[in-house]
Symmetry: C2
Subunit: 155 residues, 2 copies
């Protein structure tokens, strides 16, 4: 069953390359043994650097479920997720993730997530994209307001 879903994702990714709609990646969200949504990479065709297959599949599955969590869902992705997508997976909290290609397979095709993984380990001031802190004390008021809010919806 798992292999059948992955074969479908691989077919979608191949078609995405052929059609030129985006990068060589696809993802599915499966719930209760059936495909809930399908996503393919759309970065270049939609001018959206966040439009990785997993992000699209997560967003559309949540919309379909009317929930900001993917409880009891499985995510199938044709490649080991990049740091952005892995972060999104942790925020969406599916039950399980299945992947086919590895990060090193993606790197060999020109998608080098290793830079981003390395940057995550560096402190903000030492990153390739300079990151500078400003007005921290002012920002603490935001968290105070959040902590004091009685009817907040946690996520």
């Amino acid at each position: 069953m798992s292999e059948e879903f992955m074969r479908r994702a691989i077919a979608l990714a191949l078609e995405n390359v052929r059609s030129g709609r985006g990068g060589p990646f696809a993802a599915l969200v499966v719930k209760d043994g059936r495909v809930l949504v399908e996503g393919t990479n759309r970065v270049t065709s939609t001018n959206d650097p966040t439009a990785h297959a997993e992000i699209i599949a997560i967003r559309e599955a949540c919309r379909a479920l009317g929930d900001f969590q993917l409880t009891s869902c499985d995510l199938y992705t044709t490649c080991e997720p990049c740091p952005m997508c892995l972060g999104a997976i942790y925020w969406a909290r599916p039950a399980r993730v299945f992947y086919a290609g590895t990060a090193s397979d993606a790197a060999a095709a020109g998608f080098d997530d290793a830079l981003i993984y390395n940057e995550l380990r560096n402190p903000p001031a030492g990153r390739h994209i300079p990151m500078k802190q400003l007005l921290r004390d002012d920002a603490l008021a935001i968290f105070s307001a959040w902590n004091a809010k009685a009817d907040k919806i946690k996520y």
Copy 2:
């Protein structure tokens, strides 16, 4: 000038808490000394776990520019980015990032990105959300098709 932009982002984040539209975070994209777009966290009000302020600001700025890169833009965010947003920043490639609160300030308000940062360091099989590899050999055909494609748009 930088502080003025950050003060605007902080005001937006405070308003987002008051209105109940989402978490206590906001972000701006600035280009040529003016604000191009503003984004606030919309996770709970739009059922989208990826709707962090930075992701929204990046997507909308790219749409406004008609480009999948934020070349020569600065991103202002009220808090140190989570791994998902940091990944998105690296894919969008702005010139600089300014942030106000730290990851530990966010953790004290119940947003514990540390779990995700730790998980990124763990191999897929040892993560809290189980990750299993399937059909790697089949997936290699996708990257072969990508490598062979003459008119691909890299990103």
